[in-house]
């Protein structure tokens, strides 16, 4: 018997956590001598007030959907994949290699090819920590953190010494050929008569991200593999007893998780920068943690949380542009969201459970069931 009704679990707890994070963020803005109401207005206007703002919000949200799903899938198997940052960086390498060295005839084929390459590279980078967890018992959190740093060094090496065009000082690859440039939302919406900002970077990978949300939902709740992943997450010993091999579940989960994080690169590397630069991920891998926690590891929750964080990112950029509030405010908000929806979950849950318990104990004879 659950203490709380389902709606409280799914909506009320995250909402209160979010509210606490918002109140504290407002206090932080007050403390540095700015007006929180004006700040929120500016953020909403800047991120949602124009198709330009929406274009950026959705562009960021696309990144966060991929990394959020990556963390969420791993959470279902009770694995904490903190290495989205490194896996996404490797995914970028995959996209760059696919775009630079294969002569794609059309962007659609290039998108498929690059998605596969990004997924494979990301999955490969997650495979080693996964294997170490499954076979050697090395704690996956520590190994994925280490792999983030190793990935940063590797990318640095590859960009500086191998992929940098002759004569260029910039540690970045050459520009991708014209044929692989992805259509932006402007290009996609113009034929059906909707005018969308030309300058905004949101592109066709948004659709890939949404498709990924749906596919992951199907995987987790509608397939045998998803059932195995969830069983393993609930109880390793029960899963083992039921004949589900833990090694296989850990490996497959980490491959999917790393692949999803890697696929982020089709948005930021192929869709926006159109070349691979140093530190292309810009922390999106870590935001995936906040997104997955807020979305309760459910693909639909991840979708909503990703858009919220996209809004925060674009709104934060606007704030930094028009006020003296630095962009780092978003990092604080992100920290508070992780803190309240993740680590301090029980702080919200325990009093709520007490309330619901006392409500249930109150005598209501007419509602008594057999």
């Amino acid at each position: 018997m659950d203490v709380m009704p389902k709606w409280a679990e799914v909506i009320l707890v995250p909402l209160i956590s979010l509210l606490l994070a918002a109140v504290l963020s407002a206090l932080v803005i007050l403390a540095i001598g700015e007006d929180p109401v004006a700040a929120v207005k500016l953020m909403v206007n800047g991120a949602l007030g124009s198709s330009y703002g929406w274009g950026y919000t959705l562009y960021y949200a696309t990144n966060f959907m991929f990394t959020g799903l990556a963390v969420a899938v791993a959470f279902h198997a009770r694995l904490f994949n903190i290495g989205g940052e490194g896996q996404a960086a490797l995914g970028g390498l995959g996209v760059a290699l696919a775009c630079l060295y294969i002569p794609w005839p059309h962007w659609s084929l290039a998108l498929i090819g690059a998605t596969v390459a990004a997924g494979l590279f990301g999955a490969a980078w997650a495979a080693i920590p996964g294997w170490l967890q499954a076979r050697r018992g090395s704690h996956i959190v520590i190994t994925t953190i280490m792999f983030n740093f190793i990935a940063a060094s590797l990318l640095n090496y590859v960009l500086v010494n191998m992929l940098r065009p002759q004569g260029s000082m910039d540690p970045a690859t050459a520009r991708f050929p014209e044929a692989v440039n992805l259509p932006t939302l402007h290009d996609l919406l113009a034929p059906i008569g909707i005018s969308f900002s030309k300058a905004a970077p949101a592109n066709v990978s948004l659709l890939v991200a949404v498709a990924a949300c749906v596919l992951i939902w199907l995987l987790i709740w509608r397939t045998r593999l998803g059932y195995e992943i969830r069983s393993y997450g609930h109880s390793e010993s029960a899963a083992r007893y039921a004949g589900m091999p833990p090694t296989r579940i850990i490996m497959i989960t980490m491959l999917i998780s790393g692949g999803l994080a890697g696929m982020m690169a089709i948005n930021n590397v192929m869709g926006e920068a159109e070349r691979l630069v140093l530190n292309s991920v810009e922390g999106a891998g870590f935001i995936g943690i906040a997104v997955a926690l807020m979305g309760r590891s459910h693909p639909f929750g991840v979708f909503i949380a990703a858009i919220l964080f996209g809004f925060l990112y674009q709104g934060g950029a606007e704030l930094a542009l028009w006020t003296t509030i630095p962009r780092d405010l978003i990092v604080v908000i992100q920290a508070l969201v992780i803190l309240f929806t993740g680590a301090l979950d029980n702080m919200v849950r325990m009093p709520l459970e007490r309330v619901f318990l006392s409500l249930r104990r109150a005598p209501k004879p007419e509602r008594k069931e057999v």
Partner: protein
């Protein structure tokens, strides 16, 4: 002789770079030995680095700055303790949150206080830890062999460096020779047994987390007031994670923590002196390889191919008194 001097210089910068790692590593040692995983070392160092530099700049006294840094680090430790001990939350997630909280807040407050783009003013005079010249260092300077060793390598560091090295035997003594240490280690292995003996699990774990906060505070203060003169954005630069790596490398033992952090400090020192490696082994080693080496070595150790690292048994598990 020239080679010898280069070596001394290299070891000198090894000591400088190893000091914050050592302090943070010992901080993690206390916390993790008590069963509280702490991946928030980085954030605590960063917060302490900012607050010690900021307060030192405002008051002109580095000691007041050090206290402020320790206080900031302790505040984050308190959050970690409340989340992971009181509310039995996920310790790893709490650590991640603390890292981001420190990364964001330091820049935000730095901008609000100093308006210099997220940095503090440069520290001068008493607002900085100056190098300490040990007795007879000047006199012995010209004695061959021992002179440079004593003058360059052993003397001439800030007082925090000596504190950090003294903390190693102290940590060993506390953990392995006192009743508190025995209980602290026990609470990381089998908290139920400690509870049965009538000792407060919660109290011990909070004590461990607080010690961790103090040590991280000193580590952070060292970064901004001794190693460098002032705070810049994200100045911990992954040192908290290298310390974490060193902790695993040392298999949660104080003396090994010293060796591991010195080794990783040496990698850092070599990274800035590619010429030394080239003359030593006759070929060029990429800086990126050296930067990645601590992490690669930690993964290998974690994988158990070269001596398995086994963490404290109750690490990461919140303790529930009654089930």
């Amino acid at each position: 002789m020239d080679m010898y001097l280069t070596l001394i210089q290299l070891l000198d910068s090894t000591v400088r770079l190893a000091t914050p790692l050592l302090l943070a590593c010992l901080a993690g040692l206390f916390s993790e030995r008590a069963g509280i995983f702490d991946i928030g070392l980085e954030g605590k160092m960063l917060a302490a680095a900012f607050f010690s530099a900021a307060v030192a700049a405002l008051t002109g006294s580095v000691w007041v700055g050090l206290l402020a840094g320790i206080a900031a680090s302790l505040a984050l430790s308190a959050i970690h303790g409340i989340a992971s001990i009181t509310f039995r939350g996920n310790q790893l997630i709490s650590g991640v949150a603390i890292n981001f909280l420190a990364a964001g807040m330091t820049v935000l407050i730095a901008q609000a206080w100093f308006r210099q783009g997220g940095r503090t003013p440069s520290l001068i005079g008493n607002a900085r830890f100056e190098p300490v010249t040990l007795p007879f260092a000047e006199a012995l300077q010209n004695v061959p062999f021992i002179g440079p060793l004593y003058y360059e390598l052993i003397s001439g560091h800030s007082v925090l460096v000596y504190m950090a090295f003294a903390a190693v035997p102290l940590t060993w003594w506390i953990l392995f020779r006192t009743r508190f240490g025995l209980r602290l280690r026990a609470v990381g292995e089998n908290p139920a047994a400690v509870d049965t003996a009538g000792v407060s699990v919660v109290g011990l774990r909070f004590a461990a987390v607080a010690i961790c906060g103090v040590l991280c505070g000193v580590a952070g203060a060292y970064l901004s007031t001794a190693l460098q003169a002032g705070f810049v954005k994200d100045m911990a630069a992954g040192r908290g994670f290298i310390a974490l790596a060193a902790l695993i490398f040392a298999k949660w033992r104080p003396w090994h923590a010293l060796y591991a952090t010195l080794l990783f400090g040496l990698f850092g020192a070599l990274e800035t002196r590619p010429d030394v490696i080239e003359s030593l082994i006759g070929m060029k080693v990429q800086g990126q390889l050296l930067a990645a080496l601590p992490y690669v070595m930690t993964v290998i150790i974690l994988a158990g191919f070269v001596g398995k690292a086994i963490p404290p048994r109750a690490g990461g598990e919140p303790y529930v008194k009654e089930r």
